[in-house]
């Protein structure tokens, strides 16, 4: 039964997407299409919740050959990610319904929006490395259409950049899979890893080199330095709700692959204390700092948020590469909170663009009084991202820092025990530096009288958007507050899972 539900969770968005693409009746009126997409996403939420409460089961889709099955399994980690992704997708789609009314090519947008969710769900449930690779590539190809949405020169250039980085990353990952699979005891993912250490076909040193490249490849999707260049280009050119899911959710596709490779295939013990761990950890830490610095200097709001994603997703990677139980739990928490927060921030940026067409941060002075709901949500999400209790970001960063101290004690390079927490703290300060001024100026500075909107109207006429857009914003901001204040349930779930993994 659960296997059937899992297939349904993959197939339903795909079918919806194809219906939008190929059935003319669906597109005759905007309302029909929106109803179909919205209903299908709500149903999808129900299905994923049902899967979460059901038992674990496995579905083998295809045997490429005897040792190479393509299979899906609703294990705990898959369910966690699928829940986060589906929830974000649903919230953003309701925002899209009114936002996309001022954009062109709505049909293509909804088609690929839904298809991407199908591929992402399958990626979460992938039970073998090859299945994971397949859907990882599929996510890239399908989400490409979202980046390409504007069809402008800028969008095409961004899409190609996105493609080059992603394909290069995915192929590095594939090379790792080439080397890993013959050295695993099981073709399927195993909690804690399944490396066949007695009979390695290549030397452990060689394997480490390959694993480094593979993990670097998968981290591309998560925007880790030095493979981060595409992210600030590609995310902002998409329509805002698409940027929201690209930045808030699709970056986590990279995180899924990294976690699966380390904790379900190789096993953290093989990497612990090796140069691979230190190198990746250094890169992630550098990215945390660098992303924040770049966000600080960026004046375009959506680009600033994209740089912020570069930094924040590397918090998650930091937690993963620490190979520590607490840090990994922190990573899972940050997956949830960063998804909520970044989704919220991008949707706020979208609401601003929708109502005023303004895209630069210094144009937003005084706008907070005109658009109070939007800017209150923006402020709450900003506080979350900085990590001020009781919002969500605090607890996740706390766990990662604690994990760094616990996990790196006794490592060959003790530097990291204090460096990681310090960088996390520094980056939090920088986050405050690039997010708080926006809110402060919006609420306390006077409106810029001389500024004309692209539509020609005066700023005085700006107001909050309609309920279709404010409700998703309030839901996200509310979730950041509520889950930040009462994180106990999440923490229990994640602690139980990470205890099995590390």
């Amino acid at each position: 039964m659960n296997g059937f539900l899992m297939l349904l969770a993959v197939v339903l968005p795909l079918v919806t997407g194809l219906l939008v693409a190929f059935v003319p009746q669906v597109n005759a009126e905007r309302k029909t299409r929106c109803t179909l997409v919205g209903a299908s996403l709500l149903l999808q939420c129900a299905i994923v919740v049902a899967i979460a409460f059901g038992g674990e089961s496995m579905v083998v889709l295809l045997h490429l050959n005897d040792a190479l099955p393509l299979a899906l399994r609703n294990d705990q980690m898959g369910v966690i990610f699928a829940l986060v992704m589906t929830a974000m997708w649903t919230v953003s789609v309701f925002f899209s319904f009114s936002y996309m009314s001022h954009e062109k090519n709505e049909k293509t947008y909804y088609t690929f929006y839904m298809l991407t969710l199908g591929a992402l769900t399958a990626l979460c449930f992938a039970a073998t490395l090859v299945t994971m690779y397949l859907f990882f590539e599929a996510v890239t190809l399908l989400s490409l259409a979202l980046v390409l949405h504007e069809r402008s020169k800028e969008a095409v250039a961004a899409a190609i950049k996105y493609l080059i980085y992603s394909v290069a990353g995915a192929t590095l990952g594939l090379m790792g899979i080439f080397f890993l699979v013959p050295n695993l005891t099981s073709p399927y993912f195993v909690l804690g890893g399944a490396l066949n250490l007695e009979n390695l076909t290549i030397t452990p040193d060689m394997l480490l080199v390959v694993l480094f490249l593979a993990l670097l490849g998968f981290s591309t999707k998560a925007g880790m330095f030095p493979m981060h260049g595409w992210l600030p280009t590609a995310h902002p050119v998409a329509p805002s709700p698409a940027s929201a899911v690209l930045s808030g959710v699709i970056t986590k596709a990279g995180v899924v692959c990294v976690i699966r490779t380390i904790y379900y295939a190789i096993g953290p013990d093989f990497l612990r204390g090796t140069w691979v761990q230190l190198a990746l950890l250094s890169l992630a830490t550098i990215t945390v700092f660098m992303g924040s610095m770049m966000a600080l200097y960026e004046k375009h709001l959506k680009k600033r948020l994209a740089f912020s994603s570069v930094s924040q997703v590397s918090y998650i990677l930091c937690g993963v590469y620490l190979l520590d139980r607490t840090a990994l739990a922190g990573s899972f928490l940050h997956v949830v909170f960063h998804a909520l927060i970044k989704d919220g921030l991008f949707l706020c940026a979208g609401a601003i663009i929708f109502k005023t067409g303004l895209t630069y941060v210094d144009q937003l002075k005084g706008l907070g009084r005109k658009m109070p709901i939007t800017f209150w949500c923006f402020t709450i999400c900003s506080l979350g991202l900085i990590g001020i209790p009781p919002t969500g970001g605090f607890i996740s960063k706390w766990y990662i820092a604690e994990g760094a101290i616990a996990g790196m004690t006794g490592s060959p390079v003790p530097l990291f025990t204090w460096l990681v927490p310090v960088i996390l703290l520094l980056s939090a300060l920088l986050t405050a530096g690039y997010l708080m001024p926006i809110s402060i100026h919006a609420f306390f500075s006077p409106l810029q009288e001389d500024l004309r909107l692209p539509s020609g109207a005066s700023l005085e006429t700006a107001s909050d958007p309609g309920r279709m857009m404010t409700v998703p914003l309030m839901l996200l901001a509310g979730a950041v507050l509520v889950l930040g204040t009462f994180p106990g349930l999440l923490i229990n779930i994640f602690n139980a899972l990470t205890a099995l993994l590390v």
């Binding site: 295809l62 045997h63 490429l64 050959n65 190479l68 393509l70 090859v130 299945t131 690779y133 397949l134 590539e137 599929a138 190809l141 490409l144 390409l148 069809r151 095409v156 190609i160 493609l163 080059i164 394909v167 290069a168 192929t171 590095l172 594939l174 090379m175 080439f178 080397f179 699979v181 013959p182 076909t201 290549i202 060689m206």
Partner: protein, 483 residues
Amino acid sequence: MLIAAVLLPMALGAILPLFRFRREGARSLYIMLSVLATSALMLPLVFTGAPGRETLFQITETLPIAFKLDGAGRVFAGIVSMLWPLATLYGLEYMQKDARKYTFFAFYIITYGVTLGIACASNLITLYLFYELLTLITLPLIMHGGSTRNIRAGLKYLYYSIGGAALVFIGLVYVIYYGGSTEFVYGGLGAMTMGATAGSLRIGYMICFLGFGVKAAIFPLHTWLIEAAVAPTPVTALLHAVAVVKSGVFAIIRATWFIFGPALLRGTYAQHIPLALASITIVYGCTMALKEQNIKRSLAYSTVSNLSYCILGALLLTEGGLRSSLMHMVYHAVIKITLFLCAGMYLKKGIVYSQDMRGVHRATPEVSAIYLLGALSLTGLPPLLGFLSKWMLATSAIQQGSRLALVGVAALTISAVLTFFYLVLPGLTTYMGKPERAYAYRELSPGWKALAPLAVLSVIILVLSFWSAPIGSFFAYAAAGGL
């Protein structure tokens, strides 16, 4: 039966110009029927296997011209006899307006027989005979257009091939002198090592390898293949993606596994140099394919790269390697012919360069979709069939574990990225952006004779992708020396 299958198309092709048909249709029917008859003769043998050896005649007492069909031969003969009718049907549409199309088809049919001769050759001397014949018989096909570029490409092909064949001849002398027999035996001619030191035999092997390497388009012997892309598309699609170039690969497999033997070569320079050359060619071909804007020339470079996948597999000198080599030989053949046929349809409509493909999917929805399917398959998106052969190749190389094999895996990885960009990206751009001029819906769609082969090929691609177990186990059987 084998003799009949080889000689029938040669005879039918040779007499084609003698007939005076009243109607166009009758001649097309004759062409189609002769190709189909040959396939009908060959395919049952491919599927069931043909025990025994059939001798055509004896050159000397010890050098017979003879045919047999073992596992590897069945693989090659199978591809050839599956794809020839499809390409011929396509050719009938493609060459419709050509004034000298019947001379063209005469040679096209004869080539079928010659290629089967290579597939079914039972010893090196027979293979050599048909290999030389293949050069001569395909020359008019390359020169068919009659322009200076065609002539130049043809001459280049001739010089390269004759040069290669000359090297092979020297190798052949080594084999006859030291081995006595040139018969193909799985694992190599054990007797050979008695007559000669291993060192001189390895020299003989290297000469053979480089000779056959011309048709297999190993860098730096590949340039003829790129020039030859000026030939009509049915020729580039069938001969320069399948028959001629795969003859080169097949001959290398024969020389490596059935004449000199893996035991002789393993761990020596005679393995290392070919492996290194293959890795270089893989990366070089892909890089050039990315640089090249002309669609057909780009595909030709892609063939250069993919042929070396097969060579890499064969030269790993493990059973798994040979298996993946045979597998890639088949899969690449099916995919690349599909891509070339699509490119031909674009070329017919004046779309020569990859940037012209932008936005044309509305004008040729079928061709765009099939092109994208082929492109994704060759790139190796699982579960499409290009993935499995690359996977087997990479894992065999990793299991073999030598340093050069691992370099090969790195080359495969680089090549996979590049393949995506020279193949899939143009395929995606047919769905994006605006075309140079506004086409009407299905304005560029070809007729049924071109569409039917494309449809059959894409069905083959999909079926093999999702149901590869039987053919996969056959490759294992063939690679283990099964008949």
